[in-house]
Symmetry: C2
Subunit: 200 residues, 2 copies
């Protein structure tokens, strides 16, 4: 459904440009990514960026949203697995793959984007933390269902287990950003899974 509009049409693909912006933010973090870096990578000039996205922070939020939808689709797929153990294993394995894709920067945009409150008053860091927490809550809900179904031992704390899984995933992201290779991250997952109930 292409909307008919008056005026000169945009000369670039906004989603494709957003994908380029994702990589720049991923590599350099929110603060470290300058508008020159961004617009050069996106193949547009500044006023076009401002017209299309508003400002740098809005561009970042849009980039993170697209990242969550595309690059983290594996997380939603993992939640659909039949057992809690499979959910967790599938998530951690796919996470390792995503952290070490050859065609993408190492690590995870949500972590590399910015952990500390930079020049702003932690606005961006809080936004990223909240988006990670949303994922943790989704996993906790799935694990709570597993407890109800008897798939996880009664007495298991689904929120704590979900937090543990996210902790491993974030730790792996930190390692990946430091250049640790895929096989080593999988070895970490091998060990991490020993702490998960319901291992086959």
């Amino acid at each position: 459904m292409t909307v008919k509009t008056k005026g000169r049409p945009r000369g670039f693909d906004a989603d494709a440009a957003l994908d380029r912006a994702i990589e720049v933010f991923w590599r350099h973090g929110y603060e470290g990514a300058s508008l020159t870096d961004l617009t050069d990578a996106m193949g547009i000039n500044r006023p076009s960026m401002y017209a299309a996205y508003g400002n740098k922070e809005e561009l970042f939020r849009r980039a993170v949203a697209r990242y969550a939808e595309h690059d983290m689709a594996y997380a939603r797929e993992a939640l659909a697995r039949p057992t809690a153990y499979q959910v967790i294993e599938s998530f951690l394995r796919a996470n390792v793959e995503a952290l070490t894709r050859a065609d993408r920067p190492s690590g995870c945009l949500s972590i590399q984007g910015g952990l500390a409150g930079g020049s702003d008053h932690g606005e961006v860091a809080r936004f990223l933390a909240e988006s990670r927490l949303a994922g943790e809550r989704a996993l906790a809900a799935r694990l709570a269902r597993a407890v109800d179904e008897g798939d996880l031992p009664a007495g298991t704390d689904p929120a704590a287990l979900a937090r543990y899984v996210m902790t491993v995933s974030e730790g792996n992201a930190v390692h990946a950003a430091a250049g640790v290779d895929r096989a080593s991250l999988h070895a970490t997952v091998d060990i991490a899974l020993r702490a998960v109930p319901g291992r086959p």
Copy 2:
């Protein structure tokens, strides 16, 4: 030993000033900490900072070195425990305490300082990654000794186990930076320890 020198003596305590700088870098990251933030917190003005430390990056390296020596002393103490399990538990527990001290920023300077390569070409991120890796190697060496001593099961990969422990610690640092409380981080450690051989 106070060295007698000619000329006007420095009007501030360089180590105390460094402690203030640590907090600023910790809260805002390397890039997010401006010279104005730093010198204001340190109670000195710019030329004094440049005379005493060289430049911003040198100040940061000195801050990280002091941080490693003081705020991470618990890591060296943990390595001295008699068994591998105690080493790991002691490290992860003390780490959680350090990540959530009321008189310090939440999280860990080594992580919050900067994960992504900012405006520089990843210089600072690489430096921090290398310093974390040094800690991981020290732990791996200690665990290798435990394997030799029969304290850990034969066939245990000490490097992989050390990497797992550091992964949990880094994941907890990410959570702490996001505001997760101390009890929750300890709950994560409870689960993480289940994957460690030699549990009492």
